[in-house]
């Protein structure tokens, strides 16, 4: 314990600072391929481990379970199932959103994983686990190689 303490609230002071700068991330060996396919062809691709039989979406360059290098790419299609979801009402700063955002973990057909993304064209109350959904892509000329090239997933009619 320090022998001296602050008793006078006017002595309390804060010193400001930050750790903010820009970052540029490369998408990696697997990420580059995955996002090029989305950007150019509007396709969701998985990477298959021949040893474990797992089809990874998002794809990896290696199997996290057995460390095989993954070379086999599989077109898993753009459809899947809502595995879980949540309705967010506040933004990053804690302010109330005008329209809530629906986030979901979507199990992609033919893959062992899926994507964490948003749901669109649906009211929050109508979302159910197990609901069939498909990816809605931005128009090709607006796509830039990002997870946001998929605008959201919508219910399969």
């Amino acid at each position: 314990m320090t022998l001296e303490k602050i008793n006078d609230p006017r002595e309390i002071r804060q010193w400001p600072g930050h750790m903010e700068t820009d970052y540029i991330y490369t998408l990696g060996v697997a990420g580059e391929r995955f996002f090029q396919e989305i950007k150019k062809n509007g396709k969701i691709m998985g990477a298959k481990c021949k040893r474990c039989g797992i089809v990874y979406v998002p794809p990896r360059m290696y199997c996290e379970r057995c460390f095989e290098k993954l070379g086999e790419w599989v077109n898993v299609g753009n459809k899947g199932t809502v595995f879980t979801y949540t309705v967010a009402h506040i933004d990053l700063n804690g302010a109330k959103l005008k329209e809530p955002t629906i986030y979901a973990m979507i199990k992609i057909d033919g893959a062992d994983g899926g994507l964490v993304h948003k749901l669109g064209e649906i009211e929050p109350e109508k979302v159910r686990i197990g609901m069939r959904v498909e990816a809605v892509f931005k128009p090709k000329d607006k796509r830039e190689g990002s997870i946001n090239d998929i605008r959201y997933f919508k219910r399969v009619k």
């Binding site: 506040i90 973990m105 964490v116």
Partner: protein, 387 residues
């Protein structure tokens, strides 16, 4: 022949929602002073073989926070290092050091000066994967909302039972002088608080707090010289599930199941329900207490909510859980959260928990999760008895 490992000294500043009158160094100095005195008045300049500190840079606002630790805990020109993880993994590290036989006395430090951070969620957000998750935007705690939905879907636990966790823990915190967020609430209060990440409401999410903890660990031989009330680390485990949220189970806390397996095996515990008297576990989001109880095998699957509703996890129940007030009642103390679970377990085992003392506490379990977006956790089995 290897020795058992005991916790022989604990020091804690207590927790507050803000500590504007002291610097993080002064906070740590207080915790250290208390711990060394508690450990038989040891002198850290001579009597400690190694020091472990637990911190992450962005929580502190300093790159290489390791630099700013030694002086205030007596470790200048001594054998200190940082584990970038929760304090409970720091505890596991100290445990390993003593088990090598090369170290007799090891100190573990963890703290929260989270009130120095003015962009808490910005920093949580910066932990998301920069390629697959972060560009989606929004408040990163939606990850917990996703998990809660799946947990409630897969198990028979209910939304109301999650709220009951908050009610219990914040009430327990009223009996704990260390706690920053004690309160009398009802299940209705929790259910009617603003929806944040449905089904998570505002009151399901633990508030944050500042505080510092230092602990002294010793080998069996050293422990007997330093204290007459050692608490033994009978088993310890830690584990990380896949770092990809997309590949996780969502409903289950695999990291805790696996960490518990490791800790129980080490402790020789075959039937945790029978052998464990009480638990101090991660409840940083309400549902987490139920999910973790089941992962710890302290109850059957689907049973955690029911036990909570029936009062079995209250201080007077058959399996008191977070009698201290938990993270909900004490406050989320970033990397000190796990070490504080351990500290509260030690207080119970020593019979020094005061108003929230559990009767006849012999063996307790402490557990922690590193929070969104991680799948890392740790489990420690502590006991008054060496074997």
């Amino acid at each position: 022949m290897s020795e058992e490992v005991a916790i022989v000294g604990i020091g804690c500043t207590g927790f507050k929602s803000i500590t504007p009158d002291i610097s993080y160094k002064e906070l740590m100095f207080e915790a250290a002073t208390r711990a060394y005195q508690d450990a038989g008045n040891i002198n850290p300049r001579k009597d400690v073989d190694a020091f472990v500190t637990c911190a992450e840079d962005y929580w502190e606002g300093h790159s290489i926070f390791d630099e700013f630790v030694p002086d205030q805990i007596g470790a200048a020109l001594r054998h200190l290092f940082t584990v970038s993880s929760d304090g409970m993994i720091g505890l596991a590290t100290a445990f390993m050091l003593i088990k090598t036989g090369e170290f007799n006395t090891v100190v573990v430090e963890a703290h929260s000066k989270v009130s120095d951070v003015t962009t808490f969620t910005g920093i949580v957000n910066f932990a998301l994967d920069p390629i697959f998750n972060r560009p989606l935007g929004g408040h990163p705690h939606y990850m917990a909302g996703l998990e809660m939905t799946r947990f409630l879907h897969e198990t028979e636990n209910t939304r109301e039972q999650c709220a009951q966790v908050v009610v219990k823990n914040r009430r327990n915190a009223l009996s704990n002088p260390y706690a920053a967020h004690g309160a009398q609430l009802t299940v209705e209060d929790v259910l009617q608080s603003e929806p944040y990440f449905q089904p998570l409401n505002r009151l399901d999410i633990s508030p944050v707090a500042d505080g510092g903890i230092v602990m002294v660990l010793a080998s069996e031989k050293a422990a007997k010289k330093l204290t007459d009330k050692p608490v033994w680390i009978r088993g310890i485990g830690w584990n990380s599930d896949t770092s990809w949220p997309e590949s996780r189970e969502w409903g289950r806390a695999m990291y805790t199941e696996l960490a518990a397996q490791m800790a129980y095996k080490m402790a020789g515990i075959r039937n945790p329900k029978k052998d464990v008297c009480f638990a101090e576990i991660d409840d940083s989001f309400s549902y987490k207490e139920l999910q973790h109880l089941e992962a710890l095998k302290l109850c059957s699957n689907d049973e955690a909510g029911k036990l909570t509703e029936e009062g079995e996890t209250e201080i007077y129940g058959d399996l008191p859980v977070n009698a201290s007030g938990g993270i909900q009642g004490i406050g989320y103390a970033i990397e000190a959260s796990g070490l504080h679970r351990v500290l509260e377990t030690v207080l119970q085992l020593r019979g020094e928990a005061g108003k929230h003392q559990i009767c006849d506490a012999k063996t307790g379990v402490a557990q922690i999760w590193r929070g969104v977006p991680t799948a890392t956790g740790a489990v420690a089995v502590l006991s008054r008895e060496v074997k």
